[in-house]
């Protein structure tokens, strides 16, 4: 079996060029990926797609439909609506924290990588933060595909051993008297953080509240915006 695996790597992956990425070593620092990514990956994926289409294994229109879901149907605006509803409706919040699958399904945000949801609440005493050290598990229906940093080695490795240092890189300082609770998504449960409702937002309706909810605030690496504050680009 080991022979097969190694054989595959040297014949297929190398032949297809994966192992021959120029400057590949620097790609471990994901912030350099955009320099190391060879444009021929686009060609390789295109070539793979045409092979799979020729063999009847995929339908390009289905791939278009999947990409449309990634780009337009899922994303952090969905999660923001969940959070805004929880902020304004105590009964919904109770359901969300006890049975997130059902509560999120009420808003229609169901699907792949959102089958088993748990929502964890930030309080003055607890700050929650989510990571997947083993791969990059993430709640797609509510947050969309994960940002590059979430999938990167620096975040995956350090979020558990140095979460406070990682959060400082996001501009977030958690006081020592607050418990920092890191959720490592090692199983099939996907976590969404319910951030604290910002001060001064009492009069806002759900739509205005949702506009304050940032993606990072639902991962636990950011805070929601304050009323009147605009998102940094």
């Amino acid at each position: 079996m080991d022979v097969t695996r190694r054989g595959f790597i040297t014949t297929t992956v190398t032949a297809a060029g994966v192992a021959a990425v120029p400057n590949a070593a620097s790609a471990a620092h994901t912030d350099h990926d955009h320099q190391a990514l060879p444009s021929d990956f686009a060609l390789r994926v295109k070539s793979l797609e045409s092979l799979l289409v020729e063999k009847g294994l995929v339908d390009s229109a289905a791939l278009d439909a999947l990409v449309d879901i990634y780009e337009h149907k899922v994303g952090p605006r969905n999660g923001a609506r969940v959070v805004a509803k929880a902020w304004s409706d105590p009964e919904y919040k109770r359901r969300l924290l006890t049975d997130a699958d059902t509560a999120i399904a009420e808003l229609g945000f169901v699907g792949q990588q959102g089958e088993h949801m748990v929502v964890v609440e930030n309080t003055p005493a607890i700050h929650n933060m989510v990571v997947c050290t083993l791969c990059s598990c993430y709640p797609w229906p509510t947050l969309g595909l994960p940002p590059i940093w979430y999938k990167s080695a620096p975040y995956r490795s350090r979020a558990v051993i140095d979460p406070r240092g990682v959060l400082r890189e996001f501009g977030l300082e958690i006081p020592a008297h607050v418990e920092l609770r890191v959720w490592d998504s090692t199983a099939e449960i996907r976590y969404l953080v319910l951030p604290e409702r910002p001060a001064g937002s009492e009069s806002l309706d759900q739509e205005a509240l949702a506009a304050l909810v940032t993606r990072d605030s639902m991962i636990g690496t950011g805070r929601p915006l304050s009323p009147g504050e605009s998102a940094t680009p």
């Binding site: 912030d31 793979l48 595909l145």
Partner: protein, 219 residues
Amino acid sequence: MNGPHDMGGMQTFGPVRPAENAAVSHSAWEERIMAIWAAMGSWRKWNIDSGRQARESLPPAEYLSLSYSQLRYAQALKLLVEGGLVTPAEIERGKATKASPKLTPALSADKVAAYWRNGSPKTRDVAVEAKFRVGQQVRARNVHPVTHTRLPRYARGRVGVIERDRGVFVFPDTNAQYLGEKPQHVYSVRFLARELWGDQANALDTVMIDMWHDYLESA
């Protein structure tokens, strides 16, 4: 296996640089390979756990040199070949060999919405006794399987407390080997950061790790 993917606790990868890495991808091919990966899953030649194993068993230097999307591509090639769906020669040429059978039907566009909405639940509706109860002290087993596992190295041998019982799920260690689903309880286990990392950690901080029954023993 103790592979390069199990990176919790490593310290030498540098800063996160969230602003520079805020996008979900750098270019369109990355979403295309995600879509190919998702569509190919409908052939059921592999499962989520054997898929992860294919990625994790790459040699460490190769794994660490690839970005997330490049890994997805490498993983797809490996499983396509292992599953007998394409040959290395076909990948290299980008063309099907003449005699190769055409498999149909592929996942069609009109089925994508249902495929997405239905998801792929990993819970199983079977009666399995919960051996641990909330509040009980447990130890993560000090085991080092050479095949796929979701028990991170940094937790092995460490003592924590059962926080929640999440229900009965497919067991990745057997599922990845096509040895059956062996459904069992998954628990969220609370570890003090100091139990994992010593005194350098903040005294109040905790790490919650989801663990299958077989990863745990009483402590």
